[in-house]
């Protein structure tokens, strides 16, 4: 039996058109956050859902977690139809969505967990044992009686994950669990999700993220989501093998690029990201070596090149190849 099954999930929202006084300037628009989503996640699988902001990932997680009723379609969590029996589904589901903003900052970590334990029907004795175990594993035992308002974002996110798994759910939905965390907390949580929750405790996990390296590092299978639809679903390796380019040219430079590199002969697509004042340009070409010299010549006229590499394609390259859309906001893209 599959742990999570969605059958033609559709969820639309009405975006009201702009109005000036009493007259409409723009007409209302219907946005499909989920548009016929079909997905099957196996028991014990760590499944990644990747997509840019607004792709519909959070909407899908909310539908799966019974917080949102879809317009049409069905959701099954370990065989339970969530629309017919949401209470039964909630008992076997653990959800983190909204990150650190899902806790009471005026209460301590321990008090927060005690409260949520009651909502899941965990007895006082069992709750204390479980809380002690989770706080220990999250390395928060010595801070358990401190108010959350004094915690760092990473520490609060740890408590949030502890809350989600407090009732020992069989299926866990993690919506952007490492968003905004510093590298050490992210590393800790990724290791915890993969090794403890998935490999040791055999939990089925649905992870949404727009960090490709996180998805690549953690997930058994990945679905790319864009404009409410699942674009492709496969293992990370198969996804990377699915694009026609075996290599990608990556240039890192300081300065602003003005020219459209995609206009050059032999280049199918180019896109760039900015981080810490450094621009990274990635070029998809039929023959990388052939275009390298002309690309370097153009870039050198506009910016100072720090490094140039020919590398294997990443999931971001696959996503751009398939959708023509970037995964992250801080990217620019120039395509065919």
């Amino acid at each position: 039996m599959d742990a999570i099954v969605t059958e033609k999930i559709t969820k639309s929202f009405k975006k009201k058109g702009r109005r000036r006084f009493l007259s409409k300037v723009e007409s209302d628009e219907t946005i499909f956050a989920c548009d016929g989503v079909n997905m099957r996640i196996r028991q014990g699988e760590l499944f990644g859902l990747l997509g840019p902001n607004g792709a519909g990932k959070t909407t899908l997680v909310k539908v799966l977690s019974t917080l949102l009723i879809p317009d049409s379609g069905d959701v099954y969590i370990e065989g339970i139809n969530t629309l017919r029996d949401p209470i039964a589904a909630r008992k076997i589901l653990g959800v983190t969505t909204g990150g650190e903003r899902t806790l009471y900052w005026k209460l301590s970590a321990h008090d927060n967990l005690r409260y949520f334990a009651s909502l899941y029907g965990i007895s006082s004795q069992e709750a204390e044992k479980r809380i002690a175990y989770l706080l220990d594993i999250m390395e928060l035992t010595d801070k358990q009686h401190m108010r959350l308002e004094k915690f760092s974002t990473g520490m609060r996110q740890k408590v949030s994950i502890a809350r989600a798994i407090l009732h020992d759910p069989r299926v866990i939905l993690l919506d952007e669990p490492t968003l905004g965390l510093d590298p050490s907390f992210s590393r800790f949580l990724r290791r915890f999700i993969r090794e403890e929750l998935n490999q040791t405790q055999k939990k089925t996990i649905l992870l949404t993220t727009h960090y490709m390296d996180e998805a690549e590092q953690l997930c058994d299978r990945i679905a790319f989501m864009n404009r409410g639809r699942i674009v492709v679903l496969d293992t990370p390796d198969n996804l990377k093998r699915s694009i026609p380019h075996e290599e990608v040219l990556e240039l890192r430079c300081v300065g602003t690029l003005r020219d459209n590199l995609a206009g050059l002969e032999g280049i199918n697509r180019s896109y760039f990201t900015y981080e810490g004042g450094v621009t990274t340009v990635r070029i998809h070409a039929d023959d990388t070596e052939k275009v390298m010299t002309s690309v370097i010549d153009i870039v050198r006229k506009q910016a100072r090149i720090i490094s140039a590499h020919v590398i294997k394609p990443t999931l971001e390259d696959v996503f751009i190849h398939l959708t023509g859309v970037k995964l992250t906001d801080d990217t620019g893209e120039k395509g065919e």
């Binding site: 917080l67 909630r90 008992k91 909204g98 899902t102 209460l107 009651s118 909502l119």
Partner: protein, 275 residues
């Protein structure tokens, strides 16, 4: 699969509420004192109008010439109205602001136990405020409270709370959808002030008296003032107690039905987590 204990949820909800409230001590002080202070201008106003603290016209309408205890009882019981109107909706709004509302409503516990927990927590705090206000009234204004009268008064207050929190659930449900309840709450609050005998006897105007019959605090005030100021027994006031009881059932049913309906609506519209 384990069954979620309703008592456990109610207890947890009350504990959480009180712990968070204790983080704001100034709010506690405010509610312990404010409702009594709020009444003082009306006492002075009455005194200025009739040139003293007794009036024959007032005595004819109410059966007692004790104006100060009359308005103080109104003010103390009105604390429960304020708490019900503002508290529950504000509590849900705070939950959605903190980001915890979706987590609570996404848990397998029953909505009714969460709401009862919130209502009970509000009632406990409001009773604390009412006790402190009563102490101020006894010490400063010389209000007389006889120990033997406390039990029937508590019964009436308990009945009042049930009805009011039914109404509060309905208001909280509306808050889930519109995310702002102040304008609606203010309207109801002023409707209650105008049409119930909180500050003045409604017998003064036949239309006001007629409307006051659908407001639960009207009956609670008749009984409490009857016991405290007119030395009437609860047996002679049973008709008012019975009406209050029937209103409780109606308000609770209305409140829970509205909440269930609105919760489904926000789960469809996807606005549960908005604030």
């Amino acid at each position: 699969m384990r069954r979620v204990s309703d008592i456990g949820v109610i207890k947890a909800e009350v504990t959480k509420y009180l712990k968070i409230l204790l983080c704001y001590p100034m709010e506690l002080v405010f509610w312990c004192v404010f409702p009594v202070v709020w009444v003082v201008p009306f006492i002075f106003q009455g005194k200025a109008l009739v040139g003293g603290l007794t009036s024959q016209s007032f005595a004819r309408l109410t059966g007692t010439d004790q104006y100060i205890p009359y308005v103080l009882i109104g003010a103390i019981l009105n604390t429960y109205v304020m708490s019900a109107l503002y508290g529950m909706g504000e509590s849900l709004r705070s939950e959605s602001y903190w980001g915890t509302l979706e987590i609570i409503l996404g848990s397998p516990s029953r909505r009714v136990s969460i709401l009862i927990g919130k209502a009970l927590a509000e009632s406990i705090m409001t009773t604390g405020y009412a006790i402190s206000q009563s102490i101020i009234c006894v010490v400063v204004f010389g209000l007389e409270v006889t120990v033997g009268k406390i039990l029937p008064i508590l019964l009436v207050v308990a009945l009042l709370i049930c009805g009011l929190y039914g109404l509060a659930m309905a208001l909280a449900a509306v808050t889930l959808q519109i995310k702002e309840s102040h304008s609606l709450v203010h309207t109801i609050e002023y409707f209650f002030y105008l049409f119930s005998p909180v500050r003045y006897p409604v017998d003064i105007n036949p239309y006001i008296k007629m409307v006051s019959l659908v407001i639960p605090i009207t009956y609670a005030l008749i009984v409490v003032r009857g016991i405290m100021l007119l030395n009437q027994s609860i047996e002679t006031l049973w008709r008012n107690v019975f009406i209050l009881f029937i209103m409780d059932i109606l308000f609770l049913l209305l409140g829970f039905a509205t909440f269930t309906f609105m919760e489904k609506r926000v789960r469809q519209s996807g606005t549960m987590g908005h604030y």
